[in-house]
Symmetry: C2
Subunit: 389 residues, 2 copies
């Protein structure tokens, strides 16, 4: 087990009706806030109205910035930074899913910074201060509500890069599973794939002596495998939606990182995919993750076999452990198909003519490989992409 | 799933050598602190010297209060409160196990309070402020390093009562498994029983739709079942000690409470046992918990069967599920015996002539039953105690 630090300071307020507390929680941080969201979905669902009523009841003044898109854009972040400075905003309230929260984190960290906020994503500077942020979550997927991550797409070059910093964790996350009832099956499944990928990026470590976090990872995965199909079949099943929502937070608040090294190559390869083709992150991961697993299986065979046995209930083949390991990957692909996800690039409508370009971009300019556990060169990334065709 | 709040604000600093950071972490809270510990074990191990050197290097002034006993006493807490007030102490650093931390929390919460600190334990007042506390942990057991609990024994009547409040969670916990290498097998096993009991108090809920926390509980239990015998056989096995130490924290920081109702009757019954006979809390729990399980099994049969199947690998008996449920309890008892723990009162040297008195005292004066899931009357507590004979 490796040395680690862990704290989970985001106050989770979870359950039915909890959105009524957003005004009072927000008021603890500022009297004037930025209300940040995407499009019309929170207005159609009635959540917008509830949030606004709660803010007004608490006497919180707010300025609105809507229009966050999936794969949130740097241009809107910069617009938000300008708005926060001009309006002397003290807190950013994100109402939505991971894209809205990531955008809010970027605005929050860019507002007090004298340079270009992209510096933080381009690894040129590390944030030391931020406006505080809070979240009303509507999509279980990115785990951004309690994470230290933000991923932003720079339209100049379509670079989709991430920032990781303890500074940017939200102060609170208000999570009522009822507001996820209206998520369509495809988006529900995309979220599930993202959540499971956050766990698996941590699971396939090569650090030994990590029994507890292995079992905790398996706990989240088994919960997702049971509850995702239920939530798709019964969109208003409260318990299934609640399990997915809480799993999404624990998958990415770094509880599952304790003492181990995560890989993250699959995420970084997928980011290039969705930066070019603007596919849903979860759908991209459903294609890339199994391909990454197939490519790296032999480097970490026992862990893949453990995944098959403990997560999928595969019987261990003592004479051919590699067969067990393969079986786990096949079960994962079957599960993705069952919940309506693609497992090949062609199913996403992505041709194979720009694989070289994606392989090039998956290696950051200041690095020569991608991935922490299995360090993949540019040519190995290309091999992974070819396995996804 | 029930509504819940969760945050885990205690900063965990875990691994080899981390005790060197205690001075710098302490300095963030106060320039003059109370150094609180038990007897000579931290001096024999060399930890005392390391902590003092780190405090001095950081320029932190400290006053010492040693002498915390197992089942920590109110008289020492009151002495500490007097000392903190007289010396204008701003922070309490607990170096030791659960008894030292519980004592530190009680001193910390009593210092700014104008009334009698016992008010908080006697349910007469709720704390609103506290001195901040920090921990250097030496015993994985109580989970007090990140919990909201403190249990203190009032020598006047030998009342062993607990306080639960978000206010009292420590600010940081420094956890180096190497400082647990010197724990003797009996104390190691007592700690393991306590950790497992913290999980099981939460596990045997009657709340439905708690898949994720069920699996997380099972994760901690399976980790303990594997690693406790290793740590007893190989006291300096770093990974086994590390797994136990981290499991002990997660067992009691309320991650495993999310969305569910815990019972806690077994803990409260055991507290009366160890208040009268001054037995180790873990050893008392090894006797009381299986007896409580046998008494309550029929009220929650499916959960006990799930425990047998998922935690102990018992094959589910579809024709006689109750047999499966019983088998789980028997496996737990076997495990306790394997790690050198008693499972009957007689093995603790406790006769059966004061069971009535313990049953009386297990019901708090302001209540008529004990336990949240299975509410036990005084006569039912007596029945549990008789099953432990």
């Amino acid at each position: 087990m490796k040395n680690f630090e862990f704290l989970s300071p985001t106050k989770i307020i979870f359950g039915r009706g909890v959105e009524e507390r957003v005004g009072a929680e927000t008021k603890k941080y500022a009297a004037k806030v930025l209300l940040h969201y995407g499009g019309g979905s929170i207005k159609r669902s009635g959540l917008y109205e509830k949030v606004v009523a709660s803010l007004k009841a608490a006497g919180v003044e707010f300025v609105e910035l809507a229009g966050v898109q999936p794969n949130p854009r740097l241009s809107l972040v910069n617009e938000g930074i300008g708005l926060c400075r001009a309006e002397k905003i003290g807190f950013i309230l994100a109402v939505g899913g991971g894209s809205v929260i990531d955008s809010a984190k970027a605005i929050a960290v860019g507002t007090p910074y004298s340079g270009d906020v992209w510096d933080f994503f381009a690894n040129k500077a590390a944030p030391v201060e931020t406006l505080p942020t809070g979240v009303v979550l509507t999509i279980p997927a990115a785990g951004s509500e309690a994470s230290k991550s933000s991923v932003i797409t720079n339209e100049n070059g379509w670079l989709k890069w991430g920032l990781n910093s303890e500074v940017i964790r939200p102060r609170f996350a208000i999570m009522n599973p009822e507001w996820t009832f209206s998520l369509p099956p495809y988006q529900t499944a995309c979220g599930a794939v993202d959540i499971m990928a956050h766990v698996m990026e941590r699971y396939f470590t090569d650090v030994k002596g990590v029994d507890l976090t292995d079992h905790l990872c398996e706990a989240v995965l088994k919960t997702m495998i049971k509850n995702t199909p239920i939530a798709i079949a019964q969109p208003d099943n409260y318990d299934a939606r609640a399990e997915m929502m809480w799993a999404g937070t624990l998958a990415h608040n770094d509880l599952l990182s304790a003492g181990r090294l995560g890989d993250w190559a699959a995420h970084l390869i997928e980011q290039e995919l969705s930066a070019i083709y603007d596919v849903a992150h979860g759908a991209g991961l459903a294609v890339i993750f199994p391909a990454w697993m197939k490519y790296t299986l032999r480097r970490n065979r026992d862990k893949f076999a453990q995944f098959a046995v403990r997560v999928w209930g595969v019987e261990y083949d003592f004479e051919a452990p590699e067969r067990t390991a393969w079986e786990g990957i096949l079960r994962l692909e079957e599960f993705y198909r069952r919940i309506g996800m693609p497992t090949r690039l062609g199913e996403l409508g992505i041709p194979d003519d720009r694989l070289e370009e994606m392989a090039d971009k998956a290696i950051k300019p200041w690095l020569t490989t991608v991935g922490n556990v299995s360090k993949l060169t540019r040519d190995e990334v290309l091999a992974v992409l070819k396995l996804a065709v």
